[in-house]
């Protein structure tokens, strides 16, 4: 076994860390598989239109009739009974205008987003299966509301790996603690490496959030490096004892990644290098209603720019059964400007063309209400709106429609499964081929459903 000897000699002259791994490959048993990180970038199934994705999660169900689905009939019949005697039709609460060159209808509630109308691909024929927040949110994130399944971000990471190994590949900013909680960014039966990393939660502003164990409160970087060198010295020795085993190489690599992540992640999270102009554009500033969401959006841009595959940002509750007007207004004040700023920023940096941005909630709202003051809307999963922008979708484009009041999708309907299939398609993945065998069956994000909505692909 003289190759072990030469291996050891070589190792003595090698410095710690990454150089070692390349070297280790040389020294492996001839046909032993080299260690590859499960997170290493992978070839997509076909050419990707989007390389990464940001999901702007409007939790609680924003009203399509107040945002992107123009219903003049609702204004005409305001206060009259809707489909049942006891429920009265609620008029749209904001003015409507056609925007941009495309003439896409967007209400005044989202004035900032409206300026990007020509970039938006509005899906107004969305529908899903269940109208309670929690299961609906789980279906939105995992495709299934009854069983624990991997989240979309986990599937994407499993399918594509991630570009920057010093950062998590899938980050969920300020996710809710309820409504399925961790399941919304979990990996279920996929290996745990594909689960999302949460930063903050819905009750902890992202400004105050920390990623677990990213900092050592006790040792200086130099001290820790010295400690790590000792650990890696032992690890390399241990790895040598079995030239066919790549597991220990994986351990060694994960320590080096972790060590670098300690520097890189806090620096991505630190907005100090951003100009005041940028901060203002995102609506970031103490006391501003858009501060938290603005920070999330800016972080999302910084993260995907640094090579994170999938980022989700999350807003508070758009669930106005009552006080629709003030409630939706507050949500818009929190999210509208940052959303527009994100689109502007991505465009300026040339990132929008291969970054898919998705906006929406777990469902929409009803055209009618049981409230006498006509200031509220309830859950509606049969027809609602989401929009996509960037990464390979048509801009200034509306696809699908609800009936004249907005009760349900009637034309060019897109089920959540179809949306999932389309998102994967844009990312270069075939939803029927992105499978994982668990307990004897090949599972998919779309289960046995899903149609790629080719009509919206640019």
């Amino acid at each position: 076994m003289n190759f072990q000897l030469s291996r050891r000699t070589l190792l003595k002259s090698a410095t710690c860390g990454m150089g070692y791994l390349a070297l280790a490959d040389l020294c492996r048993a001839a046909d032993a598989p080299a260690y590859t990180s499960p997170l290493a970038p992978k070839q997509p199934h076909h050419e990707a239109r989007a390389k990464r994705m940001i999901f702007l999660h409007m939790r609680g169900g924003p009203s399509h009739m107040e945002t992107f689905d123009y219903k003049p009939a609702l204004a005409d019949r305001a206060g009259k009974p809707g489909r049942t005697k006891n429920r009265l039709l609620v008029p749209p609460q904001w003015e409507w205008k056609q925007r941009g060159e495309s003439g896409l209808w967007v209400s005044d509630l989202l004035k900032h987003t409206a300026e990007h109308a020509d970039d938006l691909c509005v899906l107004s024929g969305m529908h899903a299966d269940i109208a309670n927040h929690t299961p609906a949110m789980l279906q939105l994130h995992t495709g299934n509301f009854a069983f624990t399944r991997p989240s979309m971000g986990a599937w994407i990471l499993y399918g594509l790996g991630t570009e920057n190994q010093n950062l998590p590949g899938f980050i969920s900013l300020c996710p809710p603690l309820i409504n399925g909680g961790t399941k919304n960014y979990g990996s279920a039966f996929l290996p745990a490496v594909y689960q999302g990393t949460a930063v903050g939660d819905v009750k902890t502003n992202v400004k105050d959030a920390e990623i677990g164990n990213i900092r050592n409160e006790r040792f200086s970087s130099l001290e820790q490096r010295r400690q790590l060198d000792l650990i890696q010295q032992f690890n390399r020795h241990y790895a040598e004892s079995d030239p066919a085993d790549s597991q220990i190489d994986g351990v060694i690599e994960s320590f080096e990644l972790a060590f670098r992540m300690q520097d890189e992640l806090p620096s991505v999270m630190d907005l100090a290098s951003e100009s005041q102009e940028t901060l203002d554009m995102y609506g970031i500033g103490a006391g501003k209603p858009s501060d938290n969401f603005g920070r999330q959006c800016l972080l999302a841009r910084r993260m995907i720019e640094a090579g994170v595959r999938h980022v989700e940002v999350c807003d508070e509750f758009w669930d106005q059964h009552a006080k629709l007007k003030t409630g939706h207004e507050a949500r818009a004040k929190s999210t509208d400007q940052p959303t527009a700023a994100l689109l502007t920023d991505l465009k300026q940096r040339g990132l929008l063309q291969d970054t898919l941005v998705v906006w929406g909630g777990e469902f929409g709202r009803t055209p009618d209400t049981s409230k006498k003051d006509l200031d509220g809307r309830d859950h509606n999963v049969k027809g609602y709106t989401m929009w996509l922008a960037g990464g390979g979708v048509k801009g200034g484009f509306k696809f699908g429609a609800t009936d004249e009041f907005g009760y349900e999708a009637v034309e060019d309907k897109v089920h959540l499964h179809d949306l999932h299939a389309t998102i994967l398609h844009l990312l270069g993945l075939d939803h029927t081929r992105l499978t994982y065998r668990y307990a004897g069956r090949d599972f998919r994000l779309t289960d046995v459903h899903g149609r790629v909505v080719e009509e919206i692909v640019a």
Partner: protein
């Protein structure tokens, strides 16, 4: 060898290359340049494993597939152009392929040439599973009766046990030599972790090394099997496949404060070496089994928690059917390694499980009430609790006495409130300094009338106050002694026992034929139990059916799980799937031998089974590398060495704490979830207690499905809602960050350092102790030097104003942490 091994393993279609038909390099080049690209471009989209739907059951992406052909016949018959339907189709004769455009004649001629030269094809590997009809799957190996193979005869003196004889026969047939036996310390550490989930302590190491008798290993094994840590280790293995959790999980994460009783039941059953068939029967039908004592009846009720602890979608959906589905799923996967629940909406695509069988089982569980603790409205009084929980002992709980006592408490409480109010009123009339005044008045010889009045008032107050205190004590005592049933989650038979209709496509309300209660039709048993009783759900019969000694799955599945936990890989590697999509066993005869031995000779004793396996020479091999053996069997399917395995999350955390001296190996009462009480994650429950130090073994950490404890979550605890008998072993930065930076690891390192520093003054002795408590061995010279160098360097860098002792503690703490973090600590050789 690889091909031969493949043939040995496969039961289905395996076109193997015989040595004499190995294609030449030139032939392979022809295939690679002329044939394969055309297949990929024009055929694979419909006829490969990657196809959305494999058309005509024809698969052209493997040698096996192209020769077997599809529905119409063989696609390629080497050397026979006429019989090769592929050529027929390319020529657009009886078939026309590719369907849109006929390929160029040049290309077709290449295919003709290729077939004539014998269709050389290097694409080995099995075909992807095609949808097969149940007629073919009756051949499924796992459903065949369990054979009674005799251990192979051998002249070799290598085998120590019958297990070794099976292993050796197969290994020798491939000409592979085993590596050497493991050294004693390696074996000690392996056995300790495998049997108890804990590393050996320095005392245990000394004890074992001091025992030079021939029975040293056997008596070590017996000692470990007898330790209560055994059940904590092996109980957790079962909890993985029982999808154990302490909250509803999925949508509304409602806590299940009594789920822990089931956890403790499992641990106790393993420790008591309860026969596995009894263990299964109790979990499925414990409430219906005869019991000779209250203790037994209580235990059997708790056992049915198995059916109640699954995760549930409490916020919409189809709860009643989903619960039955979860029960069918967990029984199917954990006990039979079959994905029965696939048949909820359609006949199973791969395995011989028709929808009717699924609903036969569903009828059993829909005739069962599952008391899982209720939904989002949490019960806060006993009557409400009794609607959603199972009272243990049943009749022991005296409802009449409970009512009477509650009434009495009510009355006394009223009196108490009144007495308190009166006392308060009396107190108000007293001056603030009445206590001092009374002392002063006692000293005085003469007391004024005014003061006398004051004394009277004081006396009146004190009497009332005493009365209130007495009442308070009485109420407290009554409350204390209120007859409280112990609550658990589990099942009992429903009031209505009936056969339910098939739900078409799994949807509620779309009724098909009625499915009489029953079992899986694909399993043939001599004298199978049948469900005839109309007053019982049929769970007893189901349990008898599963534990029938001739059941082809039950004993094979558990034997394989045990093997998996001891070798890191099962004889059947797909431990949860013995169906068509699973892998066939590497050693079918050994599997049957062990299965039959467990069910017919060892009285289903898992401890005896484990004992026999770990006493084998195969188990006691070193994990050494062998170039020759590796070249033939890289995956070590033939067990020429022991696999190097990563410790799971629980033994890793336990080992850190044991080394630090902070582990309390006793069992905590209940669970932290019980202490948190009724409620729902994220909605008003106080979970602060989860952040407090938890000194007990990891198996007792609370498994709230939405808040899985960090050290378990990071190190691949399976998603607690899913059955998963084989854990992942990932290596990711989040784990490294945890080992480098988490407050928990830093604290444990501090404790370990303090322990080592207190043990003596000699650096060398300290280093020895460090290695003993962390790795169960002595440091090598190199390691001793590296450790010393690290300490020296730390000493040189000591700031001038730093305290010597504190600095030494810091240096040693870093060293201890380094030991916890190093790979060897979390791998088992």
């Amino acid at each position: 060898m690889r091909y031969a091994l493949f043939a040995l393993l496969s039961v289905g279609f395996a076109a193997t290359i015989q040595a004499d038909e190995m294609p030449s390099d030139q032939q392979i080049r022809f295939f690679e340049t002329k044939i394969r690209p055309v297949l990929v471009k024009h055929c694979y989209s419909c006829h490969s494993a990657e196809s959305e739907e494999i058309k005509g059951e024809l698969q052209l992406d493997t040698r096996a597939g192209i020769r077997l052909g599809g529905e119409s016949g063989h696609a390629v018959v080497p050397g026979d152009v006429q019989a090769s339907l592929l050529i027929n189709a390319l020529r657009f004769e009886d078939f026309e392929m590719p369907p849109k455009n006929k390929l160029d004649d040049d290309v077709i001629n290449d295919f003709v040439r290729w077939v004539k030269m014998g269709a050389p094809d290097p694409r080995d590997g099995p075909m992807a599973e095609v949808e097969s009809t149940p007629a073919e799957t009756t051949e499924l190996w796992s459903l065949q009766p369990i054979a009674a193979p005799a251990p192979p005869q051998t002249n070799s003196d290598w085998p120590r046990t019958d297990i070794d004889r099976f292993i050796e026969a197969q290994r020798a047939a491939e000409g592979i030599a085993p590596v050497a036996d493991a050294d004693r310390l390696t074996l000690l550490r392996r056995l300790s972790f495998d049997l108890t989930g804990l590393p050996p302590t320095p005392e245990q190491i000394d004890q074992f090394l001091a025992d030079s008798s021939a029975e040293a290993v056997a008596s070590l094994i017996d000692r470990l099997l007898a330790s209560s840590a055994f059940g904590e280790r092996w109980g957790r293995h079962w909890l993985d496949v029982a999808r154990y959790g302490e909250s509803a999980g999925n949508s509304r994460d409602v806590l299940m404060p009594y789920a822990w009783r089931y956890r403790d039941y499992v641990i106790d059953a393993l420790n008591a070496d309860m026969p596995f068939d009894q263990f299964v029967r109790e979990q499925i039908a414990g409430d219906l089994l005869p019991a000779d004592s209250k203790e037994t009846s209580r235990r059997q009720q708790i056992a049915t928690g198995f059916l109640a602890i699954g995760s549930k979608s409490l916020n919409g959906g189809n709860l009643e059917l989903d619960i039955a589905d979860d029960q069918i799923d967990v029984i199917g996967k954990s006990m039979l390694a079959l994905t029965v629940s696939c048949a909820r909406c359609h006949d199973h695509k791969f395995d011989p499980v028709p929808t009717a069988d699924y609903y036969a089982l569903a009828s059993i569980f829909r005739s069962t009430d599952t008391l899982y603790g209720g939904s989002t409205n949490r019960p806060n009084n006993l009557p409400d609790k009794l609607k959603v929980y199972l009272p243990l002992g049943g009749d022991d709980f005296d409802k009449k006495q409970f009512a009477e006592q509650q009434k009495e408490i009510g009355e006394l409480s009223k009196q108490l409130a009144q007495a308190r109010k009166q006392a308060d009123n009396l107190a108000k009339r007293l001056p603030d300094d009445w206590k001092a005044k009374r002392v002063a008045l006692k000293e005085m010889e003469e007391v004024s009338a005014e003061d006398r009045k004051l004394l009277g008032q004081i006396k009146a107050f004190e009497e009332k106050n005493r009365e209130a205190k007495q009442l308070e004590a009485q109420v407290a005592e009554l409350r204390q002694n209120l007859p409280q049933p112990e609550l658990a989650i589990g099942v009992r038979d429903a009031k209505t026992i009936r056969d339910w209709p098939i739900q078409l496509r799994g949807e509620k309300g779309k009724n098909g034929d009625v499915a009489p209660r029953g079992f899986l039709s694909c399993v043939a048993l001599p004298d199978p139990p049948t469900i005839t009783a109309t007053e019982q759900s049929g769970r007893v019969e189901l349990a008898q059916w599963i534990t029938h000694p001739e059941h082809p799955l039950t004993s094979r599945v558990i034997v394989n799980r045990v093997w998996h936990h001891l070798f890191g890989s099962g004889l059947v590697r797909t431990v949860d799937n013995f169906g068509v999509n699973g892998e066939p066993p590497s050693h079918p005869e050994l599997l049957d031998y062990l299965a039959r031995r467990l069910s017919h000779e060892l009285d289903w004793s898992l401890k005896s089974l484990i004992r026999e396996i770990v006493l084998s020479r195969t188990y006691q091999l070193a994990s050494d590398y062998s170039e020759e053996a590796y070249a033939t069997d890289a995956e070590n399917r033939l067990l020429w060495r022991m696999n190097r395995r990563r410790l799971e999350a629980e033994p890793l955390r336990d080992a850190v704490m044991l080394a630090a001296g902070t582990l309390d190996t006793s069992r905590p009462a209940g669970s932290l979830v019980l202490k948190i009480g009724e409620g729902e994650v994220g909605r008003g429950i106080n979970t602060k207690i989860l952040d407090e130090p938890f000194p007990y073994r990891s198996v007792y950490l609370p498994i709230i499905r939405g808040i899985v404890p960090e050290p378990l979550r990071l190190f691949d605890l399976p998603e607690p809602s899913n059955v998963q008998g084989q854990r992942d072993a990932t290596n990711v930065p989040a784990q490294s960050l945890y080992l480098l930076n988490s407050p928990f690891i830093l604290e444990q390192a501090d404790a370990a350092a303090a322990r080592i520093l207190a043990s003596g003054d000699e650096r060398d002795d300290r280093l020895k102790l460090l290695y003993q408590i962390c790795l169960g061995r002595q440091p090598s010279d190199e390691e001793r030097a590296a450790g010393a160098e690290f300490l020296d360097q730390m000493a040189r860098d000591k700031p001038a104003d730093a305290d010597n002792a504190a600095h030494a503690q810091r240096a040693w703490s870093m060293l201890c942490q380094g030991m916890f973090a190093r790979a060897e600590f979390r791998f088992l050789d």
